[in-house]
């Protein structure tokens, strides 16, 4: 039997392909077998692209056979959050309203990764339209946390995180509007990054909240994170908000030297709301950074307590407009037997959207409606400015900010579905980052007593992903433990 590659990282696969010790086809087969073996439990994939993946792998192999050089991600198997448009297969955002939808174009990030020779294994699960923190809002299935199948993987990119951790792919793409990459990365135990707003093109990302959304990677280590960021970052003329700022080589930025770094600990994040075990994990992680020569100081982000209110006003307002287009006219679901257009709209939307999506659309419509705009939307935009200013001031004193990614480890499926507000409050540590537009990543910082992963969140200055990755890399190299693999088989 051929070697099982499924636990390999991207750079290990690249070495193997480069030295001819494996073919891309073997590697892809290995992952397809792994998916077959474990996805019945994890339920990360909503669409598996077996033939397409094998064809992409063959392309890499034939390049190698012809003696051509390949890029560092060529032949590396990826999974794609179903919120990204792909010409191949379907793009549904795990919503009934987009069931069977076929995008006529590839998202810019998909194009770039395809150029880089990546092998796409398929699309993975998410909260419907990326609205949620547990992936329970998917219309397709509930994804399980590979470490404990009774628990959620986090969300909204739960499928992307679970697939990486369950070795059902090497890396995956997700989207992060209020923590949807970092929180599941923390809850499942992998590396996940939300780049600076404008760093990665949003073209082909089905919009949830346009001023907050960013695409980012999930990987098994920081080295792979840098490789993916090297490919997907940079200006795209199809996205007016993608920044025309040079992209450094992130791989070259990974040095095990953080003696020039000052780490800020925001006092507002270390309160009683933080689970004591999580607090202890973060404290030991910070000690490791300190031991490697980083200076640690306390900083203040005084408007932190307002972030959730601001976030749920802005994201629902934008979503109420972004989701208006799913109306049964040009694509997607149309309710049967309707007499006129108005009935078509109402039935299509009411049947097509899940409960959380409807709730957010109504909330967003309300905060924009006549008479309430100033009290909610405008007010939120002003407080948003204050939140950004908090970060600007904090970054006068430090290079990175270290916080927990989530106040608690993964919770049980169904535990929070009854109370939307409680679910919203679990985003407390990730949301401000999207409001300020700055980059953030989550790196595993150990398992709790009950065997669930926890995540260290590192936040950086705008467009300074390189420093963020360097600190995460140094931590990863020196943390002195490996969280290992979930006991799936």
């Amino acid at each position: 039997m051929a070697r099982d590659w499924s636990s390999a990282t991207g750079h290990e696969i690249h070495d193997a392909l480069h030295h001819g010790t494996a073919t891309a086809s073997d590697i892809t087969q290995s992952f397809l077998r792994r998916i077959e073996a474990v996805d019945g439990k994890v339920r990360a994939y909503v669409d598996i692209w077996k033939d397409h993946a094998l064809k992409q792998a063959e392309n890499v192999d034939s390049r190698l056979k012809r003696g051509q050089t390949i890029g560092p991600l060529a032949g590396v198997p990826f999974a794609i959050k179903d919120v990204l448009c792909t010409k191949h297969g379907h793009t549904t955002c795990c919503s009934r309203i987009l069931k069977g939808y076929r995008s006529p174009f590839d998202a810019t990030v998909i194009e770039r990764l395809e150029q880089a020779g990546v092998v796409f294994l398929g699309k993975v699960n998410m909260d419907e339209f990326a609205m949620g923190s547990s992936t329970e809002n998917s219309s397709v299935q509930v994804t399980r946390n590979p470490w404990d199948l009774k628990c959620v993987p986090g969300g909204s990119s739960g499928g992307s995180a679970a697939a990486v951790v369950a070795d059902e792919c090497v890396a995956s793409l997700g989207s992060d509007t209020g923590g949807s990459i970092r929180q599941p990365a923390a809850l499942c135990g992998c590396v996940g990054m939300k780049p600076t707003y404008g760093r990665v093109s949003r073209y082909g990302l089905v919009a949830f909240a346009s001023s907050l959304d960013q695409i980012g990677p999930f990987t098994k280590d920081v080295e792979d994170l840098a490789l993916v960021m090297n490919v997907i970052s940079g200006r795209d003329e199809r996205d007016s908000t993608s920044a025309d700022i040079p992209v450094p080589n992130y791989s070259q930025a990974l040095r095990d030297d953080i003696s020039d770094i000052t780490v800020g600990l925001p006092k507002e994040y270390y309160t009683d709301a933080l689970n004591p075990e999580m607090r202890q994990k973060i404290e030991s992680a910070v000690k490791i950074l300190e031991a490697r020569g980083a200076k640690v100081i306390e900083v203040s982000l005084p408007h932190t307590e307002y972030a959730i209110a601001v976030y749920y006003i802005i994201c629902t307002a934008e979503a109420s407009a972004n989701l208006a287009r799913f109306d049964g006219v040009r694509y997607g679901y149309r309710a049967p037997k309707v007499a006129d257009v108005q009935e078509m709209y109402a039935k299509t939307k009411t049947d097509g959207y899940g409960r959380e999506v409807q709730r957010r659309i109504l909330l967003g419509t309300y905060v924009l409606s006549s008479g309430y705009y100033d009290a909610y939307y405008l007010k939120a935009q002003k407080v948003r400015a204050l939140i950004r200013k908090d970060f600007e001031e904090a970054f006068q004193k430090c290079n990175v900010i270290a916080t927990p990614t989530s106040p608690t480890p993964a919770f049980e499926i169904g535990a929070k579905t009854a109370d939307p507000l409680e679910m919203y409050l679990s985003d407390i540590y990730t949301i401000s980052v999207n409001l300020a537009g700055i980059p953030g990543l989550s790196v595993p910082c150990g398992l709790t007593q009950s065997g669930l992963p926890s995540g260290l969140q590192l936040l950086g200055k705008p467009f300074d992903e390189a420093t963020l990755m360097r600190v995460a890399y140094a931590y990863e190299k020196n943390r002195g433990f490996d969280i290992g693999k979930p006991p799936l088989t």
């Binding site: 006529p104 408007h303 007499a339 039935k347 109504l362 309300y366 007010k379 950004r388």
Partner: protein, 98 residues
């Protein structure tokens, strides 16, 4: 305290083109009231002199040149249409709802 009424829920549902049954409306009155009450927290802050943050990035003037590029062929454009005659997207009768 109820922050919003059933009439408010009905009003925004009409704007959003959602048709809600009575049970759902009642549920939403409660849920949305809770969330909106939580948002009242923002009133603690005096923001009179604060410029609202419309964009994250300090970018202006991003344009494209006025050059025609390829369009989709019609078959592709209509590929996902729930109903079409091969030329147009077909929709049921349009009452005067504008």
């Amino acid at each position: 305290m109820t922050k919003i009424t059933k009439a408010d829920v009905e009003y925004v549902a009409a704007l959003a083109q959602l048709s809600l049954d009575e049970v759902t409306k009642e549920r939403l009155v409660g849920e949305l009231s809770d969330i909106l009450s939580y948002m009242d927290k923002l009133n603690e802050l005096d923001t009179r002199d604060i410029e609202p943050m419309m964009h994250v990035l300090p970018m202006t003037n991003v344009y494209r040149d006025d050059v025609v590029g390829p369009s989709l062929d019609r078959e592709t454009a209509l590929m996902n249409a729930p109903k079409t005659d091969g030329e147009y997207f077909l929709v049921p009768r349009i009452l005067d709802i504008e």
